[in-house]
């Protein structure tokens, strides 16, 4: 119950600062709201699911829970990971189902001032625009913030398609 309330608040960008976990994916740094992250895991044994959508890399066992692993690179239209490199998992929840986002590596937790936040540029790749909540202007780079719910709202998208 509490979780839900928190999640709702996340959608409201008010003055003050927000905390994000940064992750690296194909050279790009992305931010995930820290409260949405349930777990960060090292490389896991992932069971493939034949015939599943391509952005589902499989399922893994997280302390007795079965978690669906999402290949974030495919989901965001990035090139596939080079062979031999392992991935890390960021476990999030969507509709009370756990999902593991497969990323290259996890960075740090940043507390970012809301004034650095900006809406998505209209020219952003539609696939990114759909799942990015907005962008923080950091000193050295730009940090798009992933909207976990939109990222995982496949069901509705699939039905429309």
């Amino acid at each position: 119950m509490n979780d839900l309330v928190v999640r709702k608040e996340l959608n409201v960008v008010a003055t003050g600062s927000q905390d994000y976990v940064t992750v690296r994916l194909a050279g790009q740094t992305l931010g995930i709201p820290v409260l949405a992250v349930h777990d960060v895991l090292n490389a896991q044994k992932i069971t493939r699911i034949p015939r599943a959508p391509e952005w589902v890399s499989g399922v893994l066992n997280l302390r007795g829970r079965i978690v669906t692993a999402i290949d974030l690179r495919r989901r965001l239209g990035l090139p596939p990971r080079e062979a031999g490199k392992t991935s890390m998992s960021v476990v999030v929840e969507h509709n009370e189902e756990p999902y593991s986002l497969q990323i290259d590596s996890v960075g740090e937790v940043l507390s970012l001032d809301n004034q650095l936040f900006e809406k998505n540029p209209v020219t952003l790749d539609p696939r990114w625009r759909e799942v990015s909540r907005g962008i923080y202007r950091l000193e050295k780079e730009l940090l798009p913030i992933l909207d976990v719910d939109k990222l995982l709202a496949f069901e509705s998208k699939d039905k429309a398609a």
Binding site: I66, T68, Y99
Partner: protein, 1033 residues
């Protein structure tokens, strides 16, 4: 909410449900005393409890219906449809009030006078009988303590107080009733004690009895010797003991009751009369009073003997009496306590919240997984001292798991409990006659699932009754029985629970539906024209669809089958429908057993493991190139011969998209495992790379984004901690069947098969192929040994003939048609025929299909190698003569059968084959057909005689000897005894072929006697016999 009220609500709700069902039963069987008693008891309990909890509205309604029920029970009123309807109505009212109570903890406002008046009117319809029914109208005297009229069973406060005042104090009398126990006893069970009205009423009754006895002219002398208080105490103790069924105590008190000698049978009877009067005076209703009085019979003897013995014991009677009475009271108290416990012991149940069970279930699931993990670890450690305790843990876990599973299972009958009432109401309302046939009510399923399907089921039964079943007149006009039947059937099948709802009503009218579809613009006329009836009928699942012309109060409120479907789909089930106009409709709901721990067979495909629910696995077959079981293909469709049946196969690797068919076929070392799975009536083989063992798996549902993948039914964590997917044989079957027509057809075919097998066998499997020209050719499948594809490179030419090395020998290849030629490259499809030592290959252009059809040679052919033309699968096909090709392949083949000429069939001879064995008929018929005979096969001598009556003539009759009903000998005797077939040659076929049997056969009239399974001799015998007949003619 108040615990007491809560308890009351649950209990009453349950009672009402039971009453519902029982009433419907009663209506059908008005003389069933047991049912009536049960109803009466339940309603009375409800009434009693209401009174106790101070729920006047409920109480008055319950009371009024109880009145009517009482009349039924006394036989003063006949059970009629009208009265049952009104009582049911009152139950509904009670439910309403209960619902209000549950919501607000107070009785909702409302006026029941109308209902009560109607109930009373029914009750008064036969008020002639003497039973004093206290009427509410009569209760004009407003009790000052209550401020409302008195109800039946109630005693005015003043009277009660008088009784209490008169009651002995605790110091004088241990048996003195405490008003307090009323709380624990009232409303619990409707024992006689409760029905009488509890201790309060008994106290009053005892008081009155004691007073009346004192001055009674006949009995006074027996009782006047005892102090009034003591006397009252004794009666009270006695009644308490009797009404609570404590016979020992009653016996004891009985002995103390009469303190004077000379008490006779007659006196006792008078006493009983008095008791009755008093009880009735205490507003105990007639029946209960009767019952209460009857119970005194149990102490009659004790009282009488006591009276006889009393003279001797006169001296110490007072002490003993007091002691006895108090003992009786004490024991009755004890009994009350024991009775409470006893009640629990009977039901042995407590209420546990569903959430708790759910948690427990989850924990057990985790426990099972951890246990499996531990087992896996210790398996690799030798001589671990963990072994023994772990085994114990394992055992306990298994038991725990089983029991927890059990707590969740409930018979589906629980969900059906309301249906008889609903159907009954509908029959009245709609003026139809409907019988509800419920089967498999004991089928258990998860209670959560049960809750969820309750409403859809109810809705569907309503629909069937309302839309499906016609009015009696309509039914009669259609030649159907007047009463319709709705059948509910539940059973387990392949890890699912199937619930069927079937009616024999009018079916779903396609024309009407089409009109509606057009009206609602759900499809265009053109689209409809292209749809099959079944497709159109499925529109009823469309949101907001209702076909009833008039919206009745029953159904047709706009929410319909679409809601039902979505509800069922919500729990992962499917719903299917078949409807034949004029015949009826059948819905089948399939609900998976999720949340369950099941045994799964672990298999491997491409280094990944998968689980297949053990329940749908029939057997495992290992197939390799050289073993008996070999995967064969017909036009790229892999099949396996398994015990004389062709089993369609699917490759798991292909289903999962790991390999294409070409890749699979191109593998070098074909060594496959075939998991034979069954889905409904359809069985098929799943080809996997490897099979491991079975493991207990906890089925966890797949993530929502994977729901659309129908090949999985869930996933699970194995003992080693890895996650694997659980395959759904249903989904795989659906996928495998996608091209070959759907599953239903398969089922229908299987059913047809079964039917055919039992009725008669006229169809057979024919292999269709093409060779030289467009027209299909056919050969009975039973004659084909194998189907091969031979590399062109392997075909050699020697001695002007085509040869191929096959299984370590040279096999001649014959072209099936002069006009065709061997392919230039690739593979040549070949049919392999084997006869004894002779094996030949028949090269064909293309293998088309296997069809089941009636083999009927329409046109015999003069062309060599062709038996004739037949219509197979709707096309004219040449049926080839395998014998001819064998002759071509082996010059000595015909010679090998030393009497080749005799074997040469007499073309077109009609044979009648009588054999009760399906197998044998199947085997022999193609052999004979191919040998050029027209064969009619029947399964019994009776069937054959019927053909005779119908005027059929045959050239020869082949009959089995051992047959049920009429054996071959008797049959032959009948035929030979001047029948129409008197001169027809007859050949006996039997497994019993001793000389004696042969002689018997000849005596009975058979011309020849051949041992079964001796094909050669049979064929020879046939042509001999036919020749003889021809010569004779």
């Amino acid at each position: 909410m108040d615990d007491l009220l809560n308890e009351f609500l649950t209990e009453t709700a349950e009672s009402i449900d039971v009453v519902d069902v029982e009433l419907v039963k009663l209506e059908q069987d008005p003389n069933n005393k047991e049912v009536l008693d049960n109803i009466f008891r339940l309603v009375h309990t409800i009434k009693g409890t209401c009174g106790f909890l101070g729920l006047p509205r409920l109480e008055s309604v319950a009371h009024a219906s109880e009145n009517v029920l009482g009349k039924f029970r006394d036989g003063e009123l006949q059970v009629s449809e009208h009265s049952v309807t009104v009582i049911l109505e009152s139950l509904d009212r009670i439910k309403e009030i209960l619902a209000g109570l549950e919501a607000t903890e107070e009785e909702p406002e409302g006026d029941d006078t109308d209902l009560i008046a109607r109930l009373d009117a029914i009750a008064e319809g036969a008020l002639a009988a003497p039973a004093p029914e206290p009427d509410t109208v009569e209760g004009e005297i407003i009790d000052p303590g209550l401020g409302r009229p008195l109800k039946a069973g109630e005693v005015s406060l003043a009277e009660l107080e008088a009784a209490f005042a008169a009651a002995p104090g605790p110091e004088e009398m241990a048996a003195a009733p405490e008003p307090a126990p009323k709380k624990q006893s009232a409303g619990k069970k409707a024992s006689l004690f409760d029905r009488v009205g509890g201790e309060d009423t008994i106290a009053v009754a005892a008081h009155l009895l004691s007073q009346r006895l004192e001055s009674h002219k006949e009995l006074g002398k027996f009782f006047s010797g005892t102090a009034a208080d003591l006397r009252k105490g004794r009666f009270m103790g006695m009644m308490l003991a009797l009404y609570k069924d404590d016979l020992d105590a009653a016996d004891n008190v009985g002995r103390q009751l009469v303190s004077a000698s000379g008490f006779t049978e007659q006196n006792f009877n008078t006493l009983l009369g008095l008791v009755k009067d008093v009880l009735v005076g205490c507003q105990v209703d007639g029946d209960t009073a009767d019952e209460a009085v009857m119970s005194f019979e149990l102490v009659r003897e004790a009282v009488l003997t006591a009276s006889k013995a009393v003279a001797k014991a006169e001296t110490n009677k007072a002490g003993r009496a007091a002691g006895g009475a108090s003992a009786a009271a004490a024991s009755s108290d004890e009994h009350a306590a024991a009775g409470g416990e006893g009640g629990k012991r009977v039901s042995q149940s407590i209420r546990v919240s569903v959430d708790l069970l759910e948690d427990l279930m989850n924990l057990v699931s985790e426990l099972v997984l951890t246990r499996n993990q531990l087992l896996q670890i210790t398996r690799n450690v030798e001589n671990s001292e963990l072994g023994v305790p772990l085994q114990r843990l394992s055992q306990c876990t298994t038991e725990l798991q089983e029991n927890v599973m059990k707590t969740r299972m409930q018979p589906i009958g629980n969900a059906w409990a309301k249906l008889p009432r609903i159907v009954r109401d509908l029959t009245v309302e709609l003026d139809k006659k409907i019988e509800l046939d419920m089967r498999g009510a004991e089928t258990e399923l998860d209670r959560q699932v049960l809750e969820l399907i309750k409403d859809p089921l109810t809705h569907m039964v309503r629909n069937s009754a309302d839309h499906g079943i016609e009015k009696p007149a309509e039914r009669l006009a259609l030649g159907k029985p007047e009463g319709g039947t709705i059948t509910l059937n539940a059973f387990h099948e392949g890890g699912h629970i199937i619930i069927e709802i079937k009616d024999d009503g009018r079916g779903i009218p396609v024309a009407k539906l089409s009109k509606k579809i057009l009206e609602k613009r759900l499809a265009t006329e053109a689209e409809l024209a292209e749809m099959s009836d079944a497709q159109i009928q499925k529109f009823i699942f469309h949101p907001g669809f209702s076909t009833a012309e008039q919206v009745t109060s029953v159904s047709g409120r706009g929410v319909g089958m679409d809601v039902v479907r979505s509800n069922i789909e919500k729990i992962g089930g499917t719903i299917d429908m078949q409807s034949v106009e004029g015949k009826g409709t059948r819905f089948s709901i399939k609900i998976p057993l999720t949340l369950a721990i099941v045994a799964g067979l672990i298999v491997k495909a491409q280094e990944e493991r998968y689980a297949i629910p053990q329940i749908s696995v029939l057997e495992l077959v290992r197939a390799s190139q050289n073993s008996e079981h070999k995967i064969e293909t017909i036009k790229n469709t892999p099949v396996l011969r398994l015990r004389n049946r062709l089993l369609p196969l699917v490759y798991l690797n292909e289903i999962l998209g790991f390999m294409t068919r070409e890749e699979i076929d191109a593998r070098d070392n074909k060594d496959d495992f075939i998991v034979v799975a069954q889905v409904g009536a359809f069985s098929f083989g799943i080809v996997v790379d490897q099979v491991f063992d079975t493991e207990e798996i906890v089925v966890k549902p797949v993530a929502p984004i994977l729901k659309d993948l129908e090949i999985y039914s869930g996933n699970t964590i194995l003992g080693d901690g890895s996650v694997i997917m659980i395959l759904d044989p249903n989904g795989i079957a659906a996928k495998a069947n996608a091209s070959a027509g759907d599953h239903e057809h398969e089922e229908e075919r299987a059913k047809e098969d079964a039917k055919r097998r039992t009725v008669r066998d006229e169809k057979e499997s024919m292999l269709l192929f093409r060779a030289g020209g467009k027209h299909p050719k056919a050969v009975p499948l039973g004659l084909v040994a194998r189907l091969e594809e031979i590399e062109i490179g392997n075909i050699e030419e020697s001695d002007g003939r085509l040869m191929v090395q096959y299984r370590g020998a040279l096999m001649p290849l014959i072209l099936a048609d002069q006009n065709m030629s061997i392919r230039a490259e690739g593979k040549q499809p070949v049919l392999v025929f084997t006869d004894g030592d002779y094996t030949m290959g028949l090269a064909v252009d293309e293998i088309l299909d296997i069809v089941e059809d009636k083999l009927e040679i329409k046109l015999a052919s003069d062309r060599k190698g062709v038996v004739g033309s037949a219509i197979i699968a709707g096309k004219a096909s040449e049926v080839i003569d395998v014998a001819y090709y064998l002759g071509l392949a082996f010059a000595d083949w015909l010679k090998s059968r030393d009497m080749s000429e005799d074997v040469a069939p007499v073309k077109g001879a009609d044979l009648l084959l009588i054999d009760d064995s399906d197998f044998f008929r199947n085997m022999l018929k193609p052999v004979l057909t191919v040998s050029g005979y027209q064969v009619r096969a029947v399964s019994s001598a009776k069937a054959a005689l019927k053909l005779m009556e119908e005027g059929y003539m045959f050239d020869l009759i082949i009959s089995d000897i051992e047959m049920p009903d009429m054996n071959g000998f008797d049959f032959a005797r009948m035929v030979r005894d001047g029948s129409r077939w008197e001169t027809t040659p007859m050949v006996a076929l039997s497994a019993l072929a001793t000389e004696r049997d042969v002689q018997r056969g000849h005596d009975a009239g058979f011309d020849d006697y051949v041992a079964k399974f001796d094909k050669e001799t049979l064929l020879r015998s046939l042509s001999q016999q036919l020749k003889i007949k021809g010569d004779a003619a």
